[in-house]
Symmetry: C2
Subunit: 705 residues, 2 copies
C-alpha cells in the first residue's frame, strides 16, 4: 500500500513552480501544450522549461535538465518518451522535486518491457521522494490556480469555470470528455485529475486528498477498478467525514461491461457487486450514465445542501406532467405528502380548477397571475413538510415576457426557504438558466431527470446509517496468524455461536447412547438426526437425515438406520458422527454468508432462500464490519423484502434480530480476516421473534493464501 | 363510438380556408393569435376573420358571423367564450363547415354546467356535419402548410422545421412544451395536435389519421387515458399496418402517478398495466420520460430505418466508455457479437494496443490516423453482423481540426452501409451536429442514451410477433347475448376444455359409487377428491380435499370422509357433489386468467405461482385475442422466466404448449366478450411436455353489465 502523504500531494497539485521536461516550442506537441496553457491562462508560479537544447522556449529561459535547475521544483511534468522518463527523473537531486506527472504511454499497459520500464521509473521516483501521477495519463489541472499540467486538448477549446467540484478519472478519454461536459453544462471545477497507470498516486489517493482540499466541496470520480480496496474504503470514509459527497461512475456493472472493462484494464479487478456494496456503505452516489454523473454533480454543486429526506413537493402548471413526475418519484422511492388542508383551500379559492394535492397543479391560468404562483408555492413550503420542491413551468418558461415572474418566483422561494432545494423545469435560454443557477436553483429541461436527481440525493440523507464500519487498515492484522482448521457442520455452528450468532444447538454424537442423551436434553421437542461427514454433500440422498424424532426408541432406531444407510450408499465416506438438533421452528428461510474478495477482503452477503437467491439472484452485500443500521439497509434492499415483512398472511419477521445476526457475522468476518475463504449459513431462519442459523459450511483460507 | 371519417379530418387538418370566429385585432388575444401566426408564417389558403363588429381585422375583411360567409369553410376556429360556442356553430349552414377547433375552456372539465354546454356544442356540430377538435384545447398546426390553428405561444418564439413527425397530445401544456423541445432539438413536424376535452375527435382519431397522412412518417403521442379502447387499438393497428412507428408517453405508470392523473382527468380511466400490454402488443414504444420521448422520436425521424435486430457494434476511442456502453447495452437487452477474427487482426496490426473485440477500442492514437478509424468501422460492418453501430469519439469530437475526419467517417459509413443505423456520441457544436444528422446519423452527448435508444428501436423489430390480434370492433358482437350461467369448478374446467385448453379430466359425482367408478377410469393412477360447492372457498380447511387415493376402498372412504367433514364444518354450504380427478404430474405452477377491462374489454394475464405473483407481482398482460408469438413474448416477459426454462436442475417446460394454452384462453376471452367478468386458472401447470389446467374459477358478467 502506498503511504498516504498529504503534503507531497499538495505540493504536486498546488505547485508554486513547474518544470516541463521535454518542453517544446512546436505548437500542438505534447511538450508544448502545458507551457502554452500555463501562459495562456496566467499561471502565477514559476515555469521552468527543460530541454537538452536549452535556450529559450515560448519566451522562457530553458534548462538542459533538472540537474541544471538550482531551486526546488514542486512539480515536474515529463513529456518525454517512456525510455527516457526514469533517466530524466534520475537527474533530480533527492528532495528537489515534490511530484512528477508522466504523460507518456508505453509503460505497464504495453506488456512486460513496459512493466519493467514503469518499475524503473517508480524506483527512481521513490528514491528521490518524488510522488508520481501517471504514467500514461492526461495529467491534471488546478483550475483556480491555472495549473495546466496536461496535454488534453479539452482546455484549449475553452476553460471550465473555477468551482467546487474535484474531478478524478482513471481514464484520460473519459476525463477529457467530462471536462468538456462540465464546461458545456457550466459546472465549476477545483481540480481535474487523470490517474492513468497509477504507478504511485491512484484514484483513492486523489479522493482522499480532495476530501481535505479546501477548494473542493464535491468529488466526482470515474473508476474502472482498484488494486487496494482498503485505501479506497479509507478515502470514501475521509470524504464522508469531511461532509463531501462523492459521485462515482464505475464501469463493469454487467457481465458484458465487466468483460469489456477486463480487456481494457487487465490489472484492475474486483467483483462489481462488492464495489456497489462499498458505494452504498459510504453513501457514494453511483451514476450509471454520463448524464446522471453530471446531473448529480450539478445538483451537489449548485444546491447549498442536498434534500434532507425523501418528501418531494411537485408544483406544476400542467396536471399531466405533474402525474409524469409523480410516476418518476414513485419509481425512485420519493414520497409525495399533500399540502396542509388550508393551503389547498387557499389555492382552490383563487384558482377553482387547480389541484391542491401533490402534485399541486396551479394550471396555466395561474401563469398570468404571478401572485398565485408564488403564494401557492410558499404556502406549500411554509410548514416544513417537503425536503425538496420540483417545479414544471411548461413552454411558458421560454417566454421572455414571463421571465420577471419566474425570476421573482425563484428568488423569493430561495429567500424564504433556503433549506428546501428547488429544481425548476423549463426550456430557459442559457443566460436565464445561469441566472437561476446563481440563485441556487437547479434547472432541467426534463422534469423526470429533476425528480431522479432529487431522489438520488435524498438517498444521501436517507441511507446514512449509524455505522458503515471502519476500513480494514485500522483492523488488527490477522494475516500471518495460524490458519483455521477444517470445520464440520457442528464445528461451524459452534464458530457461529462463539461469534454471538443465534445458532441452533446441535451435538455431535458417536453412538446411539449419545444420540439418545442429546435428544433427551430437548425435552418435549422432536429432534432431527443428520450424518456428519466432509465426504457427503447431499445427506438426504444417502439416507443420512431423519426428521421429527420423538422419544428414545425413535432416536436410537434413526441413529442405527442412518449409519446403516450411509455404510451402504457411501461406504468410502469418513464419518465424524451423527448430529442431533431440535427440529427447527417455522420461519422464513434466508441465506447469509461471507466471502473473501481479492480486493476488498471479507464481504457479507444476505438474501432469501429458494427462487429468490437461485433464480432472481436477489442478494445484497456489504464490506465487513458494519453496524446495525447498515445491516437493516442490507435487508431492506432485496426485492423479496416484502416476504420478511409478513407477506402471504405470515407474521412479520424480527428484522432487528436478523440485522443483529448480520452485524455479528460481519464482526466474525472481520476478526477472521484472511483466514476464511467463505462461510455460508443456509438456512438462516428469520423468525417472528429472533433469528436462527440451522446449518453452516465454513471453508478456511488455503495455506497458499 | 365516434365514426371514423378520414375525409372530414383531412379537410380540418389540411384546410384550404380558415374562419376565425372571435377574431381580434388586439395582439396577444386568443382570437388574434391564429390570424397573426397564419399571416406571419405565410398560410396560402383563405383567412376569414369573423367578428360581430365586422370591418377589417389585421388587414383582412371580417364577417359578422359564419352565416355571413357565402362559401364553404374547411376549418372554423372558435375563440369565443364557452357560452357562445354552440351558438356560433349554429350559424353555419349544414355542410358549410368541415371542422371546428374550439380553444375555450369552461366545458366538461368544469362540472355539470360545463358538461351541458359541451353536449350542446357537440349536438350543434353533429347536426351540421362538423368535426370538432376540443374544446379546451390549444388547437393544432399543420407545419408544412403553415396552418396555425392554435393560441399556443410556443410558435411565436420560433417555428419548428417541417418534417415527418406527427405529434398529438391530450394535454395542451405538454403539447406546447413538446413543440418547444422539438424546435430546440431540431426535430421536424408534420402536424401538431392538442385534443383537449375530446368532445368528438380524440387521440385515437388523430393517430389513425396520421397513420394515413402522407407527410407523416412517425407518430408521437402524449396520453392520459382513453374512453374507447377498441378505437385506440384500431388506431395502433393502422399505424402498424402503415409501417409508421408510434412513440407514446402515458402518465399513470405508478400508483402515485395514477392518482395524480385521476385527479387531473377524472373522465379518463383504465388500468395502466393494460395500456402497457396494448403498447407491447402493437409495437408502440412507450417513453417513460420527456427525454426518452424525444430520443425515440429523434431516432425514428433521423434514421432511414430502425435497427433490424438487437446486435450492436460499439466503436470507441476509449475502452472505459466502451465498457460503460456495454453495461447499458446488456441492461437494455442488446447483444454484442465480436467482429470477425480477421477484422480484429487487421486492427491490431495497425494499432497494437487497440481492442478488436466488441466494444472495439481503436484508442486515442487512431484519432490522428483517420484511415484506421474508417477502415476499422467499415471492416466491422462489412459482413452484416451488426444491426446498429454506436460510436464514441470522446472530447476529440469537439475539435474543429478533426471535423473533416469525423465528417468523412460518418459520410463514408452511411454510404457503404446505409442499412446499419449509426449513432455518434460526442459534444459537437450545434451546426456540426446538424450536418451529421442530415447525413442520417444520430448524435448524442450521452453514449448511454444512444445505446438505450438503439435498444428501444431494436425492440420494434424484435418484438414484432405474428399476430397481435385484431381489434374487438372487428369481432362478432356478443353483447346482448344471454349471460353465462354460474359455474362450479367442474363446469369451469369443461369450459376450458371446450375452448381447446388442456384441462385435467375431472368428474363430478353424486355418491360413493360414482366416485369409485370415476376413479376406476384412471387405471393405475392415484386420484384426488375435492368437495364442489360455491359456498366453500378454502376446501382444505373444512376437510374437503383428499389426495393420492388408490383403489376403490380408499376412494369410497375418502368420499364419505369428505362429506362428513363438510357437513360438520360447513353445515350451511350448498354442495354440488364431489370432484374426482387424477393426481397432477410434477410441473411448474403458473397462473393464467382473464379479466374484463372497462376500457379495453377482455385482458389475459399470465404469471408464475407462489411468491412470483403474490410477492413480486410478476405478471404480464395482453389484450385478447392474440397469436402464438405474442403469447411467447408474454411468457418471456416475466421475471421468473428462468424457472420455466428449467432452473434449479428441473427440466425445461414446454413453452410452446404453454403459449398455445394462452392463445386459446385469449380466443375464449374474445368469444365470450362482455359475458365474463373474470376467469382464473390456478394452477396452470407448465410441464416438460404439454401444459395442464388443474383448477379454474369463472365469474360471469353480472346482469347489470
Amino acid at each position: 500500500m502506498t503511504t498516504h502523504l498529504d503534503a507531497s500531494l499538495s505540493r504536486l497539485f498546488d505547485p508554486r513552480s513547474i518544470a516541463i521536461v521535454g518542453a517544446s516550442a512546436t505548437p500542438g506537441k505534447i511538450g508544448a501544450m502545458p507551457v502554452t496553457l500555463l501562459r495562456q491562462y496566467g499561471y502565477a508560479g514559476r515555469i521552468v522549461p527543460i530541454n537538452p537544447r536549452a535556450g529559450e522556449i515560448q519566451g522562457l529561459p530553458a534548462f538542459a535538465g533538472l540537474s541544471a535547475v538550482d531551486d526546488a521544483i514542486d512539480l515536474a511534468i515529463l513529456a518525454v518518451p517512456a525510455v527516457h522518463a526514469a533517466q530524466a527523473l534520475a537527474q533530480a537531486r533527492p528532495g528537489q522535486i515534490a511530484g512528477a506527472v508522466i504523460f507518456t504511454s508505453g509503460f505497464s499497459e504495453t506488456g512486460d518491457a513496459g512493466r519493467a520500464q514503469q518499475a524503473a521509473l517508480t524506483q527512481a521516483a521513490r528514491e528521490r521522494g518524488i510522488r508520481l501521477l501517471g504514467p500514461n495519463c492526461l495529467g491534471f489541472m488546478n483550475v483556480r490556480k491555472h495549473v495546466y499540467a496536461t496535454f488534453s486538448p479539452a482546455p484549449a477549446n475553452g476553460a471550465v469555470a473555477p468551482g467546487g467540484i474535484g474531478m478524478v478519472s482513471q481514464s484520460g478519454a473519459f476525463g477529457a470528455y467530462a471536462y468538456s461536459m462540465a464546461r458545456e453544462r457550466g459546472l465549476g471545477l477545483s481540480h481535474w485529475i487523470s490517474t492513468g497507470n497509477e504507478a504511485d498516486i491512484d484514484v483513492a489517493d486523489c479522493i482522499a486528498w480532495l476530501a481535505d482540499d479546501a477548494d473542493t466541496r464535491v468529488i466526482m470520480a470515474y473508476m474502472e477498478g482498484c488494486r487496494d480496496g482498503d485505501k479506497l474504503r479509507a478515502a470514501f470514509a475521509s470524504a464522508r467525514a469531511a461532509g463531501k459527497p462523492v459521485v462515482v461512475t464505475k464501469i463493469g456493472r454487467t457481465q458484458a461491461g465487466a468483460q469489456a472493462a477486463a480487456s481494457h484494464t487487465a490489472a484492475l479487478a474486483g467483483d462489481d457487486a462488492v464495489y456497489d456494496a462499498l458505494f452504498r456503505q459510504y453513501g457514494v452516489l453511483r451514476a450509471r450514465t454520463i448524464e446522471e454523473f453530471f446531473n448529480l454533480g450539478y445538483a451537489l454543486d449548485t444546491w447549498k445542501q442536498p434534500p434532507r429526506g425523501n418528501r418531494l413537493g411537485i408544483f406544476t402548471i400542467s396536471g399531466g406532467v405533474g402525474a409524469l413526475m409523480a410516476d418518476e418519484a414513485a419509481d425512485a422511492g420519493l414520497v409525495l405528502p399533500e399540502p396542509a388542508a388550508d393551503a389547498q383551500a387557499r389555492l382552490l379559492a383563487q384558482v377553482p380548477f387547480a389541484s391542491g394535492r401533490n402534485p399541486v397543479d396551479v394550471t396555466g391560468q395561474a401563469v398570468s397571475e404571478p401572485g398565485v404562483l408564488l403564494s401557492t408555492a410558499q404556502d406549500m413550503l411554509s410548514d416544513g413538510r417537503y425536503d425538496a420542491l420540483a417545479v414544471f413551468l411548461a413552454a411558458a418558461g421560454s417566454s421572455e415576457k414571463l421571465w420577471p415572474t419566474f425570476e421573482n418566483f425563484a428568488r423569493q422561494l430561495q429567500a424564504s426557504r433556503p433549506d428546501v432545494p428547488l429544481a425548476i423545469c423549463a426550456l430557459f435560454p442559457p443566460a436565464r438558466r445561469r441566472e437561476l443557477e446563481q440563485l441556487g436553483c437547479l434547472v432541467f429541461a426534463d422534469p423526470s431527470a429533476a425528480v431522479r436527481t432529487i431522489a438520488s440525493l435524498a438517498g444521501l440523507a436517507h441511507e446514512r446509517t449509524d455505522d458503515a464500519g471502519r476500513p480494514a487498515s485500522e483492523a488488527p492484522a490477522s494475516q500471518g496468524q495460524t490458519l483455521l482448521p477444517s470445520y464440520n457442520e457442528v464445528q461451524a455452528m459452534a464458530l457461529l455461536r462463539e461469534a454471538g450468532l443465534p445458532a441452533t444447538p446441535c451435538t455431535l454424537v458417536g453412538d446411539a447412547d449419545g444420540a439418545a442423551a442429546a435428544a433427551a436434553a430437548d425435552i418435549d421437542a422432536p429432534v432431527v438426526l443428520k450424518i456428519v461427514s466432509a465426504d457427503i454433500v447431499h445427506k438426504s440422498d444417502v439416507g443420512g437425515v431423519k426428521l421429527k424424532l420423538s422419544g428414545e426408541a425413535a432416536v436410537r432406531q434413526a441413529h442405527a438406520s442412518i449409519l446403516a444407510s450411509v455404510r451402504q450408499h457411501a461406504p468410502q465416506a469418513r464419518v465424524d458422527g451423527v448430529l442431533v438438533a431440535p427440529m427447527a421452528p417455522a420461519g422464513v428461510e434466508c441465506i447469509a454468508g461471507i466471502h473473501d474478495d481479492p480486493v476488498f477482503g471479507p464481504v457479507v452477503m444476505f438474501g432469501l432462500g429458494g427462487v429468490f437467491v437461485e433464480v432472481l439472484k436477489d442478494v445484497s452485500f456489504r464490506l465487513a464490519p458494519f453496524g446495525h443500521g447498515e445491516a437493516l439497509a442490507m435487508i431492506r434492499e432485496i426485492k423479496g423484502y416484502a416476504v420478511l415483512r409478513g407477506a402471504r398472511g405470515a407474521p412479520p419477521c424480527d428484522l432487528d434480530a436478523l440485522a443483529e445476526a448480520l452485524v455479528r457475522l460481519s464482526r466474525l468476518a472481520d476478526a477472521q480476516r484472511g483466514r476464511l475463504k467463505s462461510l455460508e449459513i443456509n438456512p438462516l431462519l428469520a423468525l417472528p421473534h429472533g433469528a436462527l442459523a440451522l446449518d453452516a459450511v465454513v471453508i478456511p483460507a488455503s495455506p497458499a493464501g
